[in-house]
């Protein structure tokens, strides 16, 4: 259980910190330090096991479907990295406690730092590659938060974005790569993957896998051409730079290379991709570092270069190179962290990090200067310091590489050149900041030594640099051995960690590098004005910004073109897609078989009715700009449709269509009160032509489709309805029995739609006072009398008669044309007629029009009727009927479906009345308002 505890510690700490009060910086720091130190302690407790070659493990299942287990393992490599993370973490916490300003939100800083620490530990401890990806992205996110910590600064926000885009994107690529590995291997377990190197390399997916994984690693480790985010990340507070952007997070990329080396290495693609990337990064980083003026900038480019070096070492695919790589990871972490902290101290105490401002600091802060100089020397690869040893190993590998072709000379040459650059920028760091007394710029603050505790972490790290540099085999030997063995996944090669290997070629290279570097810097210093040299202005950062800006503009343009806000355009697409969807199968099939089967002969009346319908539909389209006219002509279409229904044996439909048509016309007239009487003419003929073409295509398409279907024989389920409507449904009007019984559930939904429409209309118009500003064009009211006497009297006379017909239609519905909806519409129309004749106020006063209550009650009644069948353990809406024998009168049919139909009726009346009177009442409000 120590392993999950180790992984959980930072998160537990984060939880505690997040519960602390807002500015409890000290408590947050103590918590963080406790976390880091406890983690170190756990690592030391586990050390004997790890050094004995055991791999402690712990895991539980998380998403078996994905093969994602939540598990950790601690081998030598993980142990080394974990120690780095926790050890340097502890030092950084100490440093940050003094570095942060009193105004900075300290709690937030330590919270993010702990989250990062947890994510980083997760990466190195993960026993499952997918879990590794999880933590990998978590480091990107926490890094985003930390870079943007001073979020009032624009550069901080921008840098945070850039880092997130690059590393987060790389993480997604890594996810792809890992998923491919899982697909090849059949498992994401680290052991399984490491054991399956041959399978992976043999897979056709090997190269994509490798490329995706490398994308993840290279973006994280700031390899060329993704390196540019790292210098920008220096906008973060210096402790963050020291911790994330030199010692730990950027090492995640090389950790990944190390971790997956047995699985992905040992191949030509690996060699070329990794080596060349590393070499390019090494040279570019080192070269650009020389010309930085910001201390942190110099260190950042140096970091890039050193990461390139490590990557290069892994790329060489040689056991010794791997050992050197692991060793250099450690060395770089120590000296670079100490250098960043030193730079932070300088910044903190002088108010500047600009080498064009700083000079002669050895006088005011001699201890810091001494520490920084030693660390810089380690960075330059000066003997007796740790950097020298790993660099010598690198030179040896570069020189010893047995590759034919370009690499034989490119690699040694590149190595020496990089060495020269490294010495040059290290020299500049030392000279320009601590010496260079000739410079006479004014330093913002009077410099002095920092507090002891701020310097202590630097001292610890510098001591380590020295100790490792002087006695590598004793100090770092065992750790390196166990880590390198875990990395190689094979027995270690022979190597010796000694300072002196004799006058060999690598030594010669070192000498050239040291001398050449010194010459280069002092030559530049002497013969140029270094402080005016600007390099790397058109670098990746600018490219990124350019691409981002252009990309965003393009994306906006595309979106604006698509989301034009034009309903016409949207609808055209919909119709066009539907037409295409309908036509495509026919196109693919090469047309359709023209029917040969017999058709029903045309009957003359139907032909005439059809002609009227066609003409009226076309008329509606032609006259549509004159709206009243269009409504009139549309009325004829509705009439024709219902006559067609009559002729083609659908009396119920005819009734419904007729009544719905009448109600719709009334609605349209009511709405026209508030809308312009005419549509303005269209401006674009071309567009109209498109619309016409589309309309024609849609019309022809549907006509063909209907025709092709109509001439086919069919075998419908409907014979069942015909056969059972009377004996089982208790009604001879099969349509009605379907509506209230077989498919009563549809009807329930249908009346809900009607009811909800009414509710929505009531909600929308209920308390709408149409604003005065809206000028409604209406024909002038020339008629003096709003309510002609004739209309009044006829409407009043009709109402009782209509009521009678309503009851008639309602009661007969089950057996003959009629039913609840039809009856409801009839009564609603009569009431509307009355409202037209007498005015809506007149009717309201008499009807006490709470029509929504009718609607709700109707729906409830219909539902309750259906629920009633539960009482006798039958499904919802099971109907029954019986005959009640009444003396003299005879058998009175009692059908539960009739109750359901009554619900339909009530809903319909209520809903239609709500719709029509809500609209009608608008005129009242207008009278009040205007």
């Amino acid at each position: 259980m120590t392993l999950p505890l180790l992984a959980a510690l930072p998160f537990i700490g984060a939880l505690i910190v997040s519960l602390l009060p807002h500015h409890a910086r000290r408590a947050a720091a103590w918590t963080s330090a406790a976390v880091a130190l406890s983690a170190c302690a756990i690592l030391i407790v586990l050390a004997p096991q790890v050094f004995a070659g055991e791999v402690p493990r712990w895991s539980i299942q998380w998403v078996p479907a994905l093969g994602l287990d939540f598990g950790f393992r601690l081998d030598g490599l993980a142990w080394l990295f974990a120690l780095l993370i926790c050890g340097i973490g502890a030092l950084i916490v100490l440093y940050a406690a003094y570095y942060l300003d009193a105004n900075d939100p300290g709690r937030r800083f330590f919270l993010f730092l702990l989250l990062f620490m947890g994510a980083m530990l997760g990466i190195v401890l993960a026993d499952n590659l997918l879990l590794l990806v999880v933590f990998w992205e978590a480091t990107s996110l926490s890094s985003f938060l930390l870079i943007g910590y001073w979020n009032h600064r624009q550069d901080a926000r921008q840098s945070a974005h850039m880092a997130l885009a690059i590393t987060g994107g790389g993480g997604l690529a890594l996810l792809g790569g890992v998923l491919l590995i899982g697909n090849i291997v059949g498992s994401f377990q680290v052991d399984a993957v490491l054991a399956a190197g041959d399978t992976i390399r043999a897979s056709p997916l090997y190269v994509p896998t490798l490329v995706l994984v490398l994308l993840g690693a290279f973006t994280k480790s700031a390899q060329f051409p993704f390196h540019f985010w790292l210098p920008q990340a220096m906008a973060a507070p210096t402790p963050v730079s020291a911790y994330l952007h030199s010692a730990t997070m950027v090492k995640a990329g090389v950790f990944l290379l190390a971790r997956l080396y047995p699985a992905l290495g040992h191949s030509e693609p690996w060699f070329w991709l990794v080596t060349l990337t590393g070499l390019a990064t090494l040279l570019i980083g080192a070269y650009l570092a020389i010309f930085q003026h910001d201390l942190k900038g110099l260190l950042a480019y140096s970091t890039i270069s050193h990461l390139g070096l490590i990557v290069l070492l892994f790329g060489l695919d040689q056991p010794l190179a791997i050992v050197a790589g692991v060793f250099h990871i450690l060395n770089h972490a120590t000296f670079k962290a100490s250098l960043f902290m030193a730079a932070g101290i300088i910044d903190h105490e002088t108010g500047s990090r600009d080498m064009r401002v700083l000079h002669s600091l050895r006088r005011s802060m001699p201890r810091t200067a001494a520490l920084a100089i030693i660390a810089s020397a380690a960075m330059a690869g000066v003997p007796l310091l740790n950097g020298f040893i790993s660099k010598e190993m690198f030179f040896a590998e570069a020189a010893a590489l047995e590759r034919p072709g370009i690499m034989t000379w490119l690699l040694p040459l590149g190595a020496v050149a990089a060495g020269i650059f490294a010495v040059a920028y290290s020299a500049r760091f030392i000279h320009d900041v601590f010496f260079n007394d000739a410079q006479n710029t004014r330093i913002p603050k009077a410099p002095h030594e920092p507090t002891r505790f701020m310097r202590a972490p630097v001292e610890v790290l510098v001591v380590i640099c020295l100790a490792v540099g002087v006695a590598p085999a004793w100090t770092i030997g065992p750790v390196l051995a166990v880590a390198a063995r875990a990395t190689l996944g094979a027995p270690l090669p022979d190597y010796s960690l000694a300072l002196w290997h004799g006058f060999n070629f690598p030594f010669f290279m070192s000498v050239v590098a040291l001398a050449g570097g010194a010459l280069l810097y002092f030559g530049l210093h002497r013969f140029t004005d270094m402080h005016r040299l600007i390099h790397g202005r058109r670098g990746g950062r600018e490219m990124f910004a350019f691409v981002a800006a252009r990309g965003l503009a393009g994306v906006r343009a595309v979106t604006a073109a698509l989301q034009s806000g034009s309903l016409q355009q949207y609808l055209m697409l919909l119709v066009a897609l539907a037409v295409a969807a309908g036509a495509w199968p026919f196109v693919r099939a090469g047309g359709f078989d023209w029917p040969t089967s017999a058709m029903t002969p045309v009957e003359l009346p139907v032909a005439a009715i059809g002609l009227i319908g066609i003409a009226a539909a076309l008329g509606t389209a032609i006259f549509h700009r004159h709206r009243l006219l269009a409504v009139t002509v549309l009325g004829a279409v509705g009439l024709v449709v219902s006559l067609l229904f009559v002729y083609l044996s659908a009396p119920d439909l005819a009734l419904t269509q007729l009544l719905a048509e009448m109600a719709t016309v009334i609605l349209m007239m009511l709405a026209l009160n508030w809308l312009p009487q005419e549509s303005p003419p269209g401006r674009s003929d071309a567009k109209r032509a498109w619309h016409l073409a589309l309309a024609a295509a849609a019309g022809v398409g549907i006509a063909l489709f209907v025709f092709l279907t109509l001439i086919q024989p069919t075998e419908s389920i409907s014979s069942y309805f015909l056969a059972t409507a009377v004996p089982l449904g208790g009604g001879s009007n099969v349509v009605n029995v379907i509506l209230v019984d077989y498919r009563g559930f549809d009807t329930l939904g249908e009346i809900t739609v009607l009811g909800v429409a009414a509710v929505t209309i009531a909600a929308l118009l209920g308390n709408t006072r149409l604003p005065r500003s809206v000028e409604i064009q209406r024909p002038p009211a020339t008629e003096r009398n709003a309510h002609p006497l004739m209309l009044q009297i006829v409407a009043r006379l009709l109402l009782p008669l209509v009521l009678l017909v309503t009851v008639h239609l309602l009661l007969r519905g089950h057996n003959l044309p009629g039913g609840g909806f039809i009856a409801g519409l009839v009564i609603a129309l009569a009431l509307i007629l009355l409202s037209v004749a007498q005015g809506v106020e007149w009717v309201d006063a008499r009807m006490k029009g709470r029509y929504l209550i009718w609607t709700a009650t109707g729906m409830l009644l219909a539902a309750a009727t259906g629920i009633g069948s539960w009482a006798v353990a039958h499904p919802f809406l099971t109907s029954t009927y019986t005959y009640l024998m009444v003396p003299w009168i005879g058998a009175v049919p009692l059908a539960s479906a009739a109750l359901f139909d009554l619900g339909v009726f009530l809903t319909t009346v209520g809903a239609v009345m709500v719709m029509l009177t809500s609209l009608g009442r608008l005129s009242q409000t207008r009278k009040g308002a205007v």
């Binding site: 020339t782 002609p788 209309l791």
Partner: protein
Amino acid sequence: MTTTFLLDLVSSALVIVGVFFTLVGSIGLVKLSDFMKRLHCPTKASTLGVGCVLIASMIDFSLAGETSLHELLISLFIFITAPVSAHLMVKAALRDDPNIPRP
């Protein structure tokens, strides 16, 4: 010459008469030159046209054995509503006709 045949004859005649007047109404609708003239046309259809057809229908269904009288209701409703339609249509057409003298 049974009653059935007579009734058949009568109902056929009624259909012919009804259809004739309905058709005349529509012909007038097309033929006449101004609205007020045309407005007189549908009254043909709505009175004698539909009326004769309805009576024919009553006879026809009675012949088939099912007494059918709701045609009367249809006539009743037409007689109630047709004048209102015409009345309102005149008013709609006259809305801006200043030529009618006020009484």
